[in-house]
């Protein structure tokens, strides 16, 4: 792929070509009138010559335009990305769930879920010998390197052993999204081999996949991951209430669905369970636009999550109007905080982090909390906690209902058997936008006026309990930064606990200006105190935003313990100079010193 480091010079090319065409038209030789009786013989002779002359003139014009273009391109400094893996045909990225639940045997068989999903995949793959694979664990590790063959894939997957631990498919999907994005295969396929027990698919990586990627999952998941009407488990857990999350896609059209059906159990034994009608105490914002509000009673939880899971699929939704951002976290996620701060530029921001690792931490405060009026939109992020809920409750002039053991202080009763443990009910007057985990890329994408404050932390030592703040966030976050061309001249602060900055080979990155000193009102430490705690840190000044070159090889290499995606650049201007010279010679040969004849 060819990128231009100084694309502004192309305007010069456009102007030059326009001038050239003008000159070509204006400077044509005006013929002298000559009365000539034997005109008809000229006419017949001219017919032959006219076509040849026209072709020659057009060719001459094109070559001269090419000269101007090549000349401008030399200054525009085109670079060619090097080392991209370009497998012919399909490239398939397979995300393998290696969580403990995959070890469990099936209901009717001794075969483990892992074996069953792998079998299912191998049976379903047809004529894929010519294709290439990348095998990624749910933890984001690349098991089989990029471009492995079909036989290598089988060897690699035979070595995978599910381990103890919960599933975090989101990290695997992050890496998969990265691989799929960087691999320009004609067809891309994402395969998720999971029982989908426990985790929700963290939505934002799949949002980054783009529409050209087809996703293939075992029958446990419907074929269209963007809109889930029902979920069938091929190997349902014995406990039907076992952490099954309902996933509602945002990219699809689910306006006609009044309730979400959850099927648990084998076919024929499906137990239909739905949210009763009238349980619309949660007014749900669907992210498709302000007008698209739904009373869809989406709620689900899973073991350990503490909050209902709403997952984003499909293309990035537009940014909703947010009045309040509420983040509660139990692990350090400073990059999230920074992103929240960015979004919160025009929002009243409340952030109370009562997490284990970082303590209280206030990003910013843009408005007094009591000034929030009924009808405000509140974005709640992070892990749920009693404390933060209570804090929110204390500060907001609304009632928050806690569902516990089927008893509601107020409000309508809910079916205790069918639902999980938490329900945030903001009441009829305040909309709760979402509860979600790592919203960083989404928030960045929403920030359409450029990032003012952005801070990346990929210090693995400070990674949270689930490790989801680890390194794959970095390139993706950077990619989001790059995707927004309105950043202007910025400086990126990098707090690296993992990579020696001297070797990171990150240069000339757009970034935010100096992070402002903000003493946050209220409790907690200031951001500067926080930053001071995380060293080393380095700054890279940028002089030209067009000169962005990021070598992610090392980052990916460090993070995935496999072969990274090589990305380098080759300057193309010497070739262009050669082309220019060649074209000039051609022009002279064709024109022969004449122009308009």
């Amino acid at each position: 792929m060819i990128n231009l480091l100084s694309p502004l010079y192309l305007w010069g090319a456009a102007a030059g070509i326009a001038a050239l065409v003008l000159i070509h038209l204006l400077l044509r030789i005006k013929p002298i009138l000559h009365l000539f009786p034997a005109c008809r013989f000229i006419s017949s002779a001219h017919e032959v010559h006219r076509r040849r002359r026209r072709i020659r003139n057009v060719l001459l014009l094109i070559l001269r335009m090419l000269c101007v273009l090549a000349f401008s391109l030399v200054f525009a400094r085109p670079v060619l990305r090097e080392g991209e893996v370009r497998p012919a045909g399909t490239h398939t990225v397979i995300v393998v769930d290696t969580s403990y639940s995959m070890r469990l045997p099936g209901k009717d068989s001794d075969q483990s879920r892992f074996a069953r999903t792998v079998d299912w995949f191998l049976k379903n793959k047809t004529n894929w010998d010519a294709d290439s694979f990348t095998l990624v664990s749910d933890r984001g590790e690349v098991i089989g390197t990029i471009g492995i063959s079909s036989s290598e894939f089988e060897r690699h997957i035979s070595e995978v052993v599910p381990e103890f631990g919960s599933t975090s498919l989101g990290k695997g999907l992050q890496t998969a999204a990265l691989a799929l994005d960087r691999l320009p295969a004609s067809k891309k396929t994402l395969v998720i081999l999971s029982d989908f027990a426990g985790p929700a698919l963290d939505g934002w990586p799949s949002a980054c996949l783009g529409p050209e990627v087809s996703i293939l999952t075992p029958p446990i998941q419907p074929s269209n991951p963007y809109f889930v009407e029902s979920i069938e488990l091929i190997d349902p857990p014995e406990d039907s209430s076992y952490d099954v999350g309902i996933r509602v896609g945002l990219g699809g059209d689910f306006s006609g669905s009044e309730s979400v059906t959850m099927r648990i159990g084998e076919e024929g034994k499906a137990q239909k369970s739905s949210v009763p009608e009238g349980a619309d105490t949660v007014e749900f914002y669907d992210y498709l636009g302000a007008a698209r509000q739904s009373s869809l009673p989406v709620m689900a939880g899973w073991e350990g999550s503490g909050l209902s899971g709403l997952n984003f699929y499909g293309v990035l939704p537009p940014r909703p109007p947010i009045d309040i951002i509420f983040h509660q976290g139990s692990e350090p996620s400073p990059h999230l905080h920074a992103a929240l701060a960015a979004v919160a530029e025009d929002s009243a921001l409340i952030n109370m982090n009562s997490g284990v690792g970082s303590g209280y931490y206030v990003i910013a405060s843009g408005a007094d909390i009591p000034s929030v009026s009924p009808g405000s939109s509140i974005l709640i992020t992070g892990w749920g906690s009693e404390l933060s809920r209570l804090q929110l409750e204390e500060r907001l002039p609304v009632e928050l209902y806690r569902y516990e053991e089927g008893i509601f202080p107020t409000g309508p009763p809910l079916d205790a058997e069918a639902h999980s443990r938490w329900l945030l009910n903001p009441g009829p007057t305040v909309r709760v936008l979402s509860t979600y985990l790592d919203l960083t890329p989404l928030l960045l994408a929403w920030t359409d006026r450029g990032i003012q404050h952005y801070f990346l932390n990929f210090n693995s030592r400070n990674a949270g309990p689930t490790g989801w703040a680890q390194q794959p966030n970095l390139p993706i976050a950077i990619r989001h930064l790059i995707a927004d061309g309105s950043f202007g001249e910025r400086t990126l602060k990098i707090d690296s606990g993992l990579l020696p900055l001297g070797e990171a080979d990150i240069r000339r990155i757009w970034g935010p200006p100096e992070f402002p000193d903000r003493d946050a009102p209220g409790v907690g430490k200031t951001e500067n105190e926080y930053f001071a705690r995380n060293i080393p840190r380095a700054e890279f000044a940028v002089s030209d935003q067009a000169e962005l070159t990021i070598n992610l090889q090392r980052i990916l290499g460090e993070n995935t313990a496999g072969e990274g995606i090589i990305e380098g650049t080759i300057e193309l201007w010497p070739w262009l100079l050669g082309l220019l010279l060649f074209t000039l010679i051609l022009v002279e040969l064709i024109a022969g010193g004449r122009y308009g004849e």
Partner: protein, 310 residues
């Protein structure tokens, strides 16, 4: 020198003096030595240089005929009587003057002038030279001219040299009747067999004259065609890019001369060959001239060639 010869010389000198107003003296003296005779028997009124279909007193023996009472006894061939003991008389062909018609193409293409050479001037000189030659031979001369002063003078009209020369002098090409129409009109005006001399470039928008030429040929006329082209037309020796306009059709073509010259010359030569073939096929004596060619030399060569073919 007898008195009669002196008188003839005096008349000729007088005639030459008068024609010198229009023609170069050198040309006049050169034309004096030329001899233009019809190749077919013509119908004249007085004695002249041309063969007649009648019997007369020329030196050209035609036939023997048995003597009839009333025949001139001086014509009896006594040698034949000695051999056959019968009386025969010898019959000789008559020579007469010829009705001659000069046809001058008056289309706009005849006006072409370039590099100090004018096709019109060349054609006028040629017509005048031929007229002089024919007057000198005591032939009866007619003139057909096209263009602005379109007019046909029949040979039987006994036009004076002043009238003929005046018309040639004032001849101006215009978008009048074309050579084809002019030849048709001429054929209609000629009542006796004679010589028709066509002077044209034959650059017609459609084609070379066919029907009119056949009409003249069937009428028994001896036809001579002179194709006069400007040297620029023959060689296209221009440089650069021109907007060529056909003076007759008004059609315009923009072309670079160096680029089309070779193809032009090839096509022109092909057409000239076609024209020549066409005339030869119709038993027309054909002469092609360029405006740089010496008129006297070309005419002399042409007439000599014609004499030998007779």
């Amino acid at each position: 020198m007898s008195e009669k010869i002196r008188t003839e010389e005096g008349k000729k000198e007088n005639l030459r003096h008068r024609w010198a107003v229009y023609l170069d003296p050198d040309l006049l003296s050169g034309i004096d030595s030329l001899d233009l005779r019809a190749r077919v028997a013509v119908e004249g009124f007085i004695s002249g240089n041309h063969p007649s279909k009648y019997f007369g007193s020329s030196h050209e023996f035609v036939e023997h005929r048995e003597y009839l009472p009333g025949d001139d006894p001086g014509l009896i061939d006594w040698k034949a009587f000695a051999r056959q003991e019968r009386l025969f008389i010898k019959r000789y062909s008559a020579v007469t003057n010829a009705p001659c018609q000069i046809v001058l193409d008056g289309s706009l293409s005849m006006e072409y002038s370039e590099g100090g050479h004018s096709k019109l001037e060349y054609v006028k000189t040629m017509a005048a030279a031929l007229a002089y030659l024919l007057f000198e031979q005591k032939d009866r001369l007619g003139l057909s001219i096209g263009g602005k002063n379109f007019r046909i003078l029949s040979p039987s009209r006994q036009s004076s040299y002043r009238e003929i020369i005046g018309l040639i002098d004032s001849f101006q090409p215009d978008s009048g009747p074309h050579i084809e129409e002019l030849l048709h009109a001429t054929a209609a005006a000629l009542d006796r067999k004679g010589m028709v001399m066509i002077i044209s470039d034959f650059l017609m928008p459609e084609d070379i004259p066919r029907e009119s030429l056949q009409r003249l040929t069937y009428s028994g006329h001896d036809i001579l065609a002179f194709q006069v082209l400007h040297d620029q037309e023959l060689s296209l020796d221009l440089t650069g890019r021109y907007r060529f306009r056909d003076p007759e059709s008004g059609r315009e073509i923009v072309a670079s001369v160096p680029a089309v010259r070779k193809e032009y010359q090839k096509r022109l030569q092909q057409w000239l060959r076609e024209v020549e073939q066409h005339f030869l096929k119709n038993k027309v004596n054909f002469l092609q001239l360029g405006t740089r060619d010496s008129l006297l030399f070309c005419l002399a060569e042409f007439l000599e060639k014609r004499r030998r073919m007779r």
